[in-house]
Amino acid sequence: MTLRVERGVVFGFLGPNGAGKTTAVKLLLGLARPTHGTGRVLGGPLGDRKSRRRIGYLPELFRYPEWLTGREVLEFHSALAVLPHADRKREIDTALDLVGLVDRAGHRVATYSKGMQQRLGLAVALLGRPELIFLDEPTSALDPIGRRDVREILADLRARNTTVFLNSHLLTEVEKVCNRVAIVQRGRIVADGPLHQLVGSERGLRIRATCDGVPLRDVLERFGEVEDEPNGALVRGLAHDHVPDVVAALVTAGARVYSIEPIVQTLEERFLETMDAK
């Protein structure tokens, strides 16, 4: 596996179960040791303690001491992260506020739902504004509101130029927040690049229209490959800046146009296509 993630990128690391995503994160954090090969994180070797000062981590298997309150968990981690004493309370309050746990901060973790524990894990990862954050399936236990909150947090991190390494199965989530994506399969990178390049390769227009005189196919064939569909047609291989030309041609031919929908390949489609190809 050869991989490079630049600073300030929200990086989506995708792959089927057992592809090696969590193992890769553990290797980068020094929780597991590579059988061979090397890597560098924030300029330091794998597992370097100095680099770990600037890293936040939410594991896939998130568990926190049940006998502590949420705030005490964060106090413990702020001590481990060697945050300055004067800043700890402020950092903890900020992290609790970000993940929406202010009201439950004084309750024991044992009373938290799974989703709340994941929010707490996210607060632990965000503590001290790390330069790099590893999030392993950060929304696996969250409801739609929680997932939206995580998206907003990730957008905020991106705005602050924080590097995020995001492992996720939820491709629509990744598509909304990541600006670079890699797909891993059986420990190998099978696709890697900016999100817009990975998902923008297949373009076209889905047209809902009727035309009494000329068949729609005859009007549209000069723009690209046409597939007939109920109530319209799908035109493939068409750049989006040709949309006004298509509309003009349809209107000139006397067609009644109900909708024109640009078609972009989704990340999920690209992911499944990549998996099928391998």
């Binding site: 597991a32 981590y57 594991p59 298997l61 006998w67 632990v124």
Partner: protein
């Protein structure tokens, strides 16, 4: 390391280990003290009340027996406290975010060892002091060297903590508890077998005892405890060879054994630190 040690102390207090241990100890001490009070009103074989000398001699033997029982409880407590500290926390995932912090793994092991040692040694001191005080109240008897006996008992506990912690860096909670306690039992049996060596003038038995004490010095520490609890009357009987067994020792293990035990703890904690630092989680 200090943060982990403080966390471990708090963990043992908040998880009610301390309160449970204190409650059980108070009940146990009250029950044994009831027995010691009953002893005051006991009668000899000819129906006469036992003399003050007989009362103190009997109390001294019973104190050693209670201490022996207590050493078992402490060894079991040390094993049960130490085994989940690493293995369960790794399996459950609690340690993952901790290990990603800028703290070395040896520091985590050392912090846990220090935290557990503080709690368990404090508990040993509390329980011993309580028992000795109650025995004194009931019978007027005090062991000759209670502080030294408590130190030896605490060292025995530290041996078990170090052993279990080292095992827990690689084994599951149940496996590390079972293996540690089996080792304790084997060392105990080896100690009894070795005590037969001088009686039968058998060098092999004596050698087996020494080797077992070197491998796991819990029995040597128990003999040190027993020696410090023996009053002059009992000690003279033991030294004369009139009484013998695991509860009565004529002489404590040599000072070199005490030094070896200290070294043993340091080495085993060092092995635990190394073992934990080189494993994947």
């Amino acid at each position: 390391m200090i943060a982990i040690a403080a966390f471990t102390v708090r963990q043992l207090i908040r998880q009610r280990f301390v309160i449970a241990a204190v409650l059980v100890t108070v009940v146990l001490a009250a029950l044994t003290d009831w027995g010691f009070y009953a002893l005051r009103n006991a009668h000899g074989p000819n129906g006469r009340p036992i003399s003050q000398l007989e009362l103190k001699a009997t109390a001294s033997i019973l104190v050693i027996l209670v201490a022996y029982l207590f050493s078992f409880i402490l060894a079991a407590a040390a094993t049960l406290v130490a085994s989940p500290m690493l293995s369960s926390e790794i399996d459950s995932g609690v340690l993952l975010p901790v290990l990603a912090r800028p703290i070395s793994r040896p520091a985590i092991v050392l912090g846990k060892a220090v935290g557990m040692s503080l709690v368990v040694v404090a508990y040993a001191a509390f329980a011993s002091s309580l028992e000795f005080s109650l025995v004194r109240l009931a019978t007027g008897y005090s062991p000759p060297h209670p502080a030294a006996a408590v130190c030896a008992l605490a060292t025995l506990v530290l041996v078990m903590l170090a052993l279990t912690l080292a095992l827990a860096t690689r084994l599951t909670m149940i496996a590390s508890s079972i293996v540690a306690f089996l080792c304790f039992g084997v060392a105990w049996v080896a100690g009894i077998v070795a005590s037969l060596g001088p009686i039968y003038h058998n060098e092999s038995l004596i050698r087996a005892g020494v080797i077992s004490q070197l491998l796991l010095p819990t029995d040597a520490m128990w003999r040190t405890v027993a020696y410090f609890l023996e009053p002059a009357l009992v000690l003279s009987r033991a030294q004369a060879g009139l009484w013998s067994g695991p509860f009565l020792v004529a002489a404590p293990p040599p000072i070199s054994m005490q030094i070896w035990t200290g070294l043993w703890i340091v080495v085993i904690v060092g092995i635990a630190m190394r073992s934990f630092a080189t494993r994947d989680v």
